[in-house]
Symmetry: C2
Subunit: 345 residues, 2 copies
DNA sequence: TTGAAAGCGCTACCAA
DNA sequence: TTGGTAGCGCTTTCAA
């Protein structure tokens, strides 16, 4: 073995007195090599710490074993944690299948596709993982045109003319379950605090509450607002005025805010009349019930889909998978929210 | 241009009637090419959407332009957000310098180094970025032995025999500032809630409080505990009993817990007698003052250091940079914590 | 079962 | 200023 440089197929072959091809076969097609030879080669590989050069391999096979994934801006550290988990799980799944994750940032969806196309042109990635699809998301269409295999975490919303593989979590089922639970513990007037109607995922979550609450034929008490804790508080105040005794929220951030209204007078150990979404650490910390997404499973599935797309690029077997969330019930642990004081407007 | 496959230097050269070398020069060494030729080539490059193959280039230059970065397990979504920001900023800085971030996961520090060494052996990365150095961290030594250039976010704690580049934030200065502030608004008995003494970064933060509080020659009221909100609550209760009127905390999670004790009776708009650390979204949401780390700056610097190490591998110019945090002052916005009820132990 | 040779796309080197 | 050539490390193809 050369002193300075890393071992190569050639150096190993020379050292062992076999051909380059034999060493290569031991790695990629072991059955084709006689056992004795194989073991000798394997020992040498191990001893030398040899790793096949991904550059050499990529050049020859035109496969980079890279997956492009955009790192989205940190929007809300409270609910962003779901994506953290997803990222971790994706990286793990990809790694287990021999793929490497190539991180990049982009200002918007179009820049994201441009960056991905560039990375593909440079042979840096074989495929892409798209996160957080929205209504009329331009990315699937653009990537299809470019010919880059991909899958998305988030279903195609609205009418889409591009068929692709995706994994998503059934938000509607989650909020339905949450609403039904609150009903089951005695609340008839369960309100809903969610995002503006532009958010497709948000409307999905809202629909679950609506379905459950409509069954009771009562008044529908709901709010459309931003995702901040403060906005959750304000919306909750309004809903309470209108007669709501409990609320389901589109996020834990909103739920945290709603607590300041609906947890009034509660005592440690009580079941709070507020249910959040995404089961974040904050929810765990204060004992807030929340709808939990099966993030690990989603990540594993979407990586499977990507690998499938890579191996069958012109495949029309694109498929979608909708996973069911679960309701994580908790009792109030450590904090209480008070009613807004006089100083508030 | 070939119909099916991507353009290459050769295809462009053939199409333009120039040599491969000329096209290559236009990309890598434009001054060496006559203006007229250059413009012609550049136009063709643009029109074809050509991108140099990173595999071909890497094979030839033995540079992958990749940086390995371990994705740590999601520990605490409240404080983990700092790392989110750091990740984002690192990716951005690296991208701006032409480097790609290769994400991977590992079970522990040794597995991390092994993974990095493998990636290096495979030519997938030129360098590594280490995050969250601890006391007696084995990674710098191991990576140095392996010969992989790197820099760390986190200083070398304790005696280290491995010199390397690093960037860190001066936690001591942060908690000193926080403590002084609480003193300045009238608190003489400022307590400290922090982590167990094993945490080097934690002890650094504690030291700042100690320095500020020791100046008052009063009793030193402090706690060593875990990082949960609940633990913050319990510790705060204890410190209050001992006479503390305010606390500085090693994290926003702990501060959130401490609020349930120290914010009793507070009114919206009040300045709370609790200061957290890391300036997370939760702190922003509820109006908790917090020590803020200059994450973007740290990321940019550490990437600079890594690039420096790559370009001067045998360099002994390893250097450390200690950045100063800033105190983010806020007034209570929406939530209050109550004293623990009877049900609590 | 093993080996020889070609060539993936690129850049360094040298010659024209 | 431009072009030709070698070779980075690998896998594929074909021959032995």
């Amino acid at each position: 073995m050369a002193p300075q440089s890393r071992p190569t197929l050639a150096s190993l072959a020379a050292q062992l007195g076999v051909s380059i091809q034999t060493v290569s076969n031991v790695i990629n097609n072991p059955e084709a090599v006689r056992l004795a030879t194989r073991e000798r080669v394997e020992a040498a590989i191990k001893a030398s710490g040899y790793r096949p050069s991904i550059a050499g391999r990529a050049l020859r096979t035109r496969r980079s074993w890279g997956i492009g994934m955009r790192l989205h801006p940190v929007v809300d550290g409270i609910n962003g944690e779901v994506l953290d988990h997803f990222f971790h799980a994706v990286t793990e799944s990809a790694q287990a299948k021999g793929y490497r994750i190539n991180l990049f940032i982009a200002a918007d969806a179009v820049a994201e596709v441009t960056a991905l196309a560039d990375m593909q042109a440079a042979g840096a990635i074989d495929a892409a993982l798209l996160i957080d699809t929205g209504l009329g998301d331009p990315r699937p269409k653009l990537l299809t045109e470019v010919g880059l295999p991909f899958a998305t975490f988030g279903r195609p919303w609205g009418e889409t003319f591009t068929k692709h593989s995706w994994v998503d979590v059934d938000g509607k089922a989650g909020s339905y379950q949450a609403t039904r639970y609150l009903q089951s513990i005695g609340h008839e007037r369960v309100g809903y605090i969610g995002w503006p109607a532009e958010s497709a995922a948000g409307e999905d979550r809202r629909a679950g509450w609506l379905a459950a609450q409509a069954e009771l034929a009562g008044e529908l008490l709901q709010a459309h607002t931003g995702n901040s804790v403060r906005q959750g508080s304000l919306a909750a105040l309004e809903l309470k005025k209108q007669g709501a005794t409990a609320v389901v929220c589109a996020s834990d951030s909103l739920a945290l805010g709603a607590l300041s209204v609906f947890a009034e007078g509660a005592v440690l150990g009580d079941e709070l009349p507020v249910i959040g979404f995404d089961n974040t650490p904050v929810a765990r910390a204060i004992g807030l019930s929340s709808v939990s997404q099966p993030v690990e499973q989603a990540a594993a599935l979407v990586v499977d889909q990507i690998v499938g797309q890579v191996n069958a690029p012109l495949d029309f077997s694109a498929q979608g998978v909708l996973l069911s969330p679960s309701l994580e019930l908790r009792k109030w642990e450590s904090m209480v929210a008070s009613q807004p004081s006089r100083k508030e407007i």
